[in-house]
Symmetry: C2
Subunit: 375 residues, 2 copies
DNA sequence: TGCCCGCGTTTGACCGGTCAAATGGCGGGG
DNA sequence: CCCCGCCATTTGACCGGTCAAACGCGGGCA
């Protein structure tokens, strides 16, 4: 009867019911469907709940409802020396968003590609999670069709690229093309006439997207693009450095270099330093993702901040959407101007908002008609 | 009867039992206590499990056993501009370690200090987690006594500092003192005679620990310590920069600066650059944690790598230990020498191992005698 | 006055496992 | 030859919720 024992001996719904002199179901309703109860009864039950410090047992509820209240997130294995793109801040935002609806994030590890799919299958089979949030997606990510086929709920942070018209599931992404265009606009406004680009080889859709933004803006301003773009294999400082040397070795070297990631940008800065130049003064440099790196280095790196809170909130909304619906949401990034490149944003907030809404509409409400396959 | 329906309609233990022509309990035993079954029966059941692709329902199991199979990890809210110390790699290692015993990590958010305790209480009351792994601990962390009092399982990444003799729960930590001593040894061996220190004010035990290591080594080598140490309020680049300026403004400025974190070290580097010097050439600089920052900046930063995999494995072992036992484990960090300071490690692996074992023993096997309070 | 309807509440069954006690078959010792 | 004990296996109860159907009750309408 002491405080201790009450707190520890796991108060059950039946005990609350007895305490409030009602049935178990009434207590259950007080929690899940209070509108069904008469106000007086509701008050009585709530009082009992508070007095006994009752908290429903999550396993029991999951067992009944069939929903675990958990969302799986595969923590990407990153090679040493690879600075991860704001994963920690995204995870925080995602956790916080989930908690607003009483859910949580469950972490797991899995090898990339096909090999990892069995982990996803396992978690679903065990009913350990209700769905997944994917990150580090690439174009033709095997997880997209695999999960879609099995009617497993998920949201992809990164487009699902339903190129062939087949719907591949909901996604949230940041408009890398718009961000890179805006960077080029800003650099051009500051007098830069030759703007290089350090991108990434391979299937990553985001890389291509950002490159398109750079290219379109350059073309629009009449700036050269031939030979001004390098595609690196992996996201490492050394690769960024090599790419920058290639660009700076040209007869007419760029005066500004737009990199697809903060890590590449640091490689670019290193190349500039090695050649006796000063990043931000002799060659403007910009990165992407606004990782902690960006503000910490000297000179501080101009980068594109991903709106992690909005991304997380959108991911949650898409997860909660009824099964069978598929939607893509494109959010704007924010250019954070620092010493490595002075960018005064030319996009007004209204432009960005409009662009976002348009992309949003484009994908909304598409329905998959695989309903009949179910039974 | 198709593949699809088998995979989706949640195969239950009873179905497996029917398929194998045995009772439900036999199937349960095949999974949890195979030694109880006759080999022939076991084989038969396993065959049935494989054929039906059976995976036990996690909620149901949790409900019966009272164990959720989940460990809570509070994702620390970090202010903008604060580069987090290897949280992502630690989380990966922790997840992987948990998976070796069929557990997972559940993320949640909570405000720091007393205010956040209710989140921990909630998760336990809901039986959502079996225990916690704490990080970002400080001396007199309210979570340590709070969790201990309530007999809630946890492991602290960071010492629990049971100064008053009262046991505060198990912990794993990295021997910051030894690492800083070794750095000073290395710097001294390379001819440095004045070695500054950038530490942190406040209650963080780790800061004091590392400072002790620096101080002891300096004293041992007969190097000056008066006025050579600065304590910053928060872990930001700007603070590190200010601290470095203070040190370098002295009549006899240090030729090397040991910083307590990579972020501080970057601040120090910035200060050196601002004064027209070159970090690593004019002033040696070292950091701590070996965050992705360290290898990415120019010059690359010498830092101390935390053995995240071992930390995670140890955390798991301590969590699995029987309730009522309390143990502390001190692991060695590894100095990663890069351009910002040339350190050839003087500690042999044997020294480190021995030191570790000693610390390990020191705490092992302490028992709390709060057993009688339980019933 | 009697019947039906709807609301608020209660009851029994169920989710899918595990625990503990009961069962049956077999070999060994008295 | 019978009884005992051990082992492998089975059975019933239970974990703590939710669902769906059943219940009692008062008001509106015929």
């Amino acid at each position: 009867m002491t405080q201790r024992s009450i707190r520890h001996q796991a108060v059950t719904l039946r005990q609350v019911a007895a305490h409030a002199a009602v049935s178990r179901q009434t207590v259950s309703n007080a929690i899940n469907a209070p509108h069904r109860l008469e106000p007086a009864t509701l008050a009585k039950v709530i009082k009992a709940i508070d007095e006994l410090r009752y908290r429903p047992n999550r396993s029991a509820r999951s067992l009944s409802t069939g929903s675990a209240g958990l969302i799986g997130y595969c923590i990407p294995q990153r090679s040493v020396g690879y600075a991860n793109s704001m994963m920690d801040s995204f995870l925080h935002a995602l956790s916080a968003a989930m908690e607003t609806v009483g859910r949580h994030v469950l972490l797991f590890t899995a090898p990339p590609g096909e090999a990892g799919l069995s982990m996803y299958a396992d978690l679903i089979a065990q009913r350990a999670v209700d769905g997944f949030v994917l990150s580090d997606t690439d174009r033709d990510d095997p997880r997209h069709p695999w999960l879609t086929e099995r009617d497993i709920r998920f949201v992809s942070f990164g487009r699902t690229w339903p190129e062939d018209g087949q719907e591949r599931g909901s996604w949230v992404d940041v408009d890398g093309a718009a961000a890179c265009s805006a960077i080029v606009d800003g650099l051009h406004a500051n007098g830069h006439e030759r703007i290089g680009f350090v991108g990434r080889r391979g299937r990553l859709g985001a890389a291509k997207d950002r490159r398109n933004g750079w290219r379109d803006a350059c073309v629009r301003h009449g700036l050269p693009i031939a030979g001004m773009s390098v595609a690196c294999p992996g996201d490492t400082v050394a690769n960024g450095e090599r790419a920058a040397h290639l660009l700076l070795d040209r007869p007419k070297p760029p005066t500004a270099i737009v990199a697809i990631s903060d890590v590449f940008a640091l490689g670019v800065m290193r190349a500039v330093i090695d050649r006796g130049g000063r990043p931000g003064t002799d060659v403007a440099v910009t990165g992407f993702d606004d990782t902690p790196l960006a503000s910490a280095v000297t000179p501080a790196l101009t980068s594109v901040r991903q709106p992690v809170v909005e991304i997380a909130a959108t991911a949650l909304r898409l997860l909660e959407a009824p099964t069978g619906t598929s939607e893509g949401v494109l959010l704007p990034g924010t250019i954070v101007s620092r010493d490595s490149a002075d960018i005064t944003t030319t996009l007004t907030p209204a432009d960005v908002r409009q662009r976002n809404v348009a992309a949003h509409r484009q994908q909304a409400g598409l329905k998959r008609d695989r309903q009949e396959n179910k039974k």
